[in-house]
């Protein structure tokens, strides 16, 4: 029997993978994909709760999240392309001018 706990554990594992990926990877696109992973991990828990509580609200939030993720993908990828045109790299360790 697969209970809600299984879904939530899966969601937490995926979310942690995303967080760790954001923290340790250097390629901007990979980091970007990790963020998507975090968003979708949350989606899993939303859907699981919706099923568990017999409520449609969770599923509605999933649509919102997917819309935001799509918009974010468009903007984020555009920024990465613009950065690449300037610096010819997407390695975020080379982007460290945000300091004193």
């Amino acid at each position: 029997m697969i209970t809600i706990t299984h879904y939530l554990v899966l969601s937490a594992i995926l979310f942690m993978l995303g967080v760790v990926g954001v923290l340790i990877r250097r390629n901007a696109i990979v980091i970007f994909m990790c963020i998507e992973l975090m968003l979708n991990a949350v989606n899993i828990s939303f859907v699981a709760f919706a099923y568990h509580l017999h409520s449609m609200q969770g599923q509605m939030f999933v649509f919102f999240t997917m819309t935001v993720a799509a918009a974010e993908a468009a903007v984020g990828l555009a920024i990465i392309v613009a950065v690449f045109r300037n610096k010819e790299t997407v390695n975020i360790d080379d982007m460290n001018i945000m300091k004193w």
């Binding site: 923290l23 340790i24 975020i92 360790d93 460290n96």
Partner: protein, 641 residues
């Protein structure tokens, strides 16, 4: 006509504004006309006001004009109002009249100066301030005028500020006056605390009602503080040192400010507050003693000075001492009378010396003059009148006023006051004739360079001299003993204590009534003795002064160096204060205060420079902080409680 009084003040103020704001663009003639015209019109209005006052019956000759409410705070009220009474109307006549002549003289004297408009702007401002001083109907307004004349005095002494000695003298005058003004300001505050008003009428009314006991502690302190102000402004011991140095200013300024008007402000103030001063016998004694001491002290310094203007400066200090002596024995009328005659003959002498200096292209040392009688005859003749007047030969102005002071000092004071005054009169006659002889008589010691330019002054300088000479000749008749016009005129201000009613009035019947005539003979004799001494030493046997100077070299040196008072003051006050100030500046200000402020800033900067190391610029670090923060919040929410 009395309502016109505000115009007296307005004209000089307009003159100041025009010359101060656009004088630079105007032609020199225009500047001179505006300045003289302003004072001339002011003088005209002053005459109108004077006659307006004469039309009133003597006992109601007080007119107050309220201009506007100036300050109102709690029970403290100060209105801007003008007061016309015999004393102030006499003062405005002297100020505008003598001031007008000196303005005209200045046109000629300052003709070559590049600061022409600046000069007339200051001179008009001075006249305005002085009029405000004498016309104000409360102590605060008087104090404003008092400070403003001090400011103008500072500006005009330092008129040639490129010269270090001039700017130093200006600063000295200003700072020494601060000491006196401090006392004056305290006195005004104490008056307010005691009487709950600062209006002249209110204060004097309350004081004359007998609410204050004669000789009470408060009134003694008040009058002593007021007198402290007077010693500063009127150059009395111990604050007289600024006046001789003030001769660095242009000569007409010396005539107007440092002889005729401003320095007499202290005498005016004491005469104005006569009700208060009469309540304190102790202060009166102090005033009389200081006055007598100053008269003798300054006259003795004047005996040996060689700078023509300095002799006149010490003479002014000495004559002011006479006025204070008169006030101190309660003879306010005599003091004010001498103030008036002194304004005439001392302005004449200063302007005459200015004419001499002008003729000699700026030479002030009497040892480089001599024999000028032929070259500048008008100056000589008018100067002679002034000299005779100050020496006290009848019927010149100085005789009547000085004789009256000596008489009053004898009658009301004691023999010592009289003896000191008489000795000072002897000195006065001597040093004035010494000055006259060294300048105009004998062989010429003028160097040939100045000799080439030697010329009589232009008309606009000699005409004021002539008018002042007439005044110095005739001014004394206002106060002839027995039929004194000035006594009668001023009696509403001073009440019955202003002058001795009886002297000279009765026929020379009793012994006491003979005294005035005896006094006259004695003081004339003293004057003639002084003149003869000068004649003996500087015409008959010119080698005598040198011999005497060698014989009594110690006294001579003491006098020549002005009793070393300046040096003593430097050692006692100036240098210690300088040292303390230096300490406060270098240690307290620069190190302690600046150190604290800079230290706080330095600490913040240092702390910040450590903190900013956390700003690495790597996105990963920032992301890590966010995650760490989130974890912290979750842990706190879940396990915190």
């Amino acid at each position: 006509m009395l309502n016109l009084i505000s115009l007296v003040l307005l004209f000089p103020l307009i003159g100041t504004a025009i010359n101060g704001l656009i004088g630079k663009k105007l032609r020199k003639e225009t500047v001179g006309y505006i300045a003289c015209g302003a004072i001339g019109m002011s003088f005209f209005v002053a005459i109108l006001v004077f006659f307006g006052l004469l039309q009133l019956p003597p006992e109601s000759r007080v007119f107050e004009k309220q201009l506007f409410n100036w300050i109102e705070s709690g029970s403290f009220k100060a209105a801007a109002g003008l007061q016309v009474d015999p004393l102030s109307s006499l003062m405005i006549l002297i100020i505008t009249g003598v001031g007008f002549l000196i303005h005209i003289y200045s046109i000629g004297y300052m003709h070559h100066d590049k600061g022409y408009h600046r000069y007339f702007c200051y001179l008009n401002l001075f006249t305005f301030s002085m009029l405000l001083l004498v016309l104000g109907n409360n102590f605060l307004l008087m104090f404003i005028g008092w400070e403003a004349v001090g400011l103008c005095s500072y500006l005009l002494i330092g008129f040639w500020f490129e010269k270090k000695s001039a700017s130093d003298a200006a600063k000295k005058a200003f700072i020494v006056n601060r000491v006196g003004d401090f006392g004056f300001a305290l006195g005004i505050m104490l008056i307010f605390i005691t009487f709950d008003t600062i209006d002249f009428t209110g204060v004097f009314h309350a004081a004359s009602q007998g609410n204050i006991a004669v000789g009470s502690f408060t009134v003694t302190i008040i009058t002593l503080l007021l007198f402290m102000g007077a010693t500063g402004k009127s150059a009395q011991i111990p604050l007289y040192t600024w006046l001789p140095d003030a001769m660095e200013g242009p000569t007409p300024v010396s005539a107007l400010i440092h002889a005729a008007t401003m320095v007499t402000a202290g005498v005016y103030m004491i005469a104005r507050c006569n009700v208060l001063f009469m309540l304190s016998p102790f202060t009166m004694t102090v005033v009389a003693c200081i006055g007598a001491a100053t008269a003798l002290f300054a006259a003795s310094i004047g005996l040996v000075q060689n700078d023509i203007k300095r002799v006149l400066a010490y003479s002014t200090v000495s004559q002011l001492g006479y006025m204070f002596l008169a006030c101190g024995v309660g003879a306010f009328t005599a003091g004010v009378f001498h103030l008036m005659t002194h304004a005439f003959f001392k302005a004449l002498l200063f302007l005459g010396s200015g004419s001499v200096i002008h003729a000699l292209s700026g030479e002030q040392d009497m040892r480089k003059m001599g024999g000028l009688k032929k070259h500048i005859p008008i100056t000589y003749r008018t100067f002679l009148v002034g000299t005779v007047a100050i020496a006290g030969i009848p019927p010149f102005a100085g005789f009547f006023s000085k004789d009256e002071i000596l008489l009053e000092a004898f009658v009301r004071g004691n023999f010592i006051y009289w003896a000191v005054g008489a000795l000072a009169a002897l000195f006065t006659a001597f040093y004035m004739f010494r000055l006259l002889i060294m300048t105009f008589h004998g062989k010429s010691r003028v160097d040939h360079h100045a000799m080439e330019h030697l010329h009589e002054s232009p008309k606009n300088m000699t005409v004021p001299l002539k008018i002042l000479a007439v005044l110095a000749l005739l001014g004394g008749f206002l106060g002839i003993p027995g039929a004194s016009a000035i006594n009668g005129f001023l009696s509403p201000v001073f009440g019955e204590h202003g002058h001795v009613e009886t002297h000279g009035a009765e026929a020379c019947g009793s012994h006491a009534a003979c005294l005035p005539y005896l006094m006259m003979v004695i003081s004339t004799g003293i004057a003639i003795a002084g003149i003869y001494l000068a004649y003996l030493m500087y015409i008959k046997s010119p080698e005598l002064p040198k011999k005497l100077a060698e014989r009594f070299s110690l006294i001579y040196k003491l006098l020549l160096n002005k009793y070393y008072i300046d040096e003593i003051y430097d050692a006692l006050f100036v240098n210690p204060i300088k040292k303390i100030s230096l300490l406060l500046w270098k240690r307290v200000d620069a190190q302690l205060i600046d150190g604290t402020v800079n230290g706080v800033a330095g600490f913040v900067r240092g702390f910040g420079s450590v903190l900013r190391l956390s700003q690495t610029g790597y996105v990963r670090n920032y992301a890590f902080y966010i995650v760490a923060g989130c974890i912290f919040i979750i842990v706190f929410v879940v396990f915190g409680k």
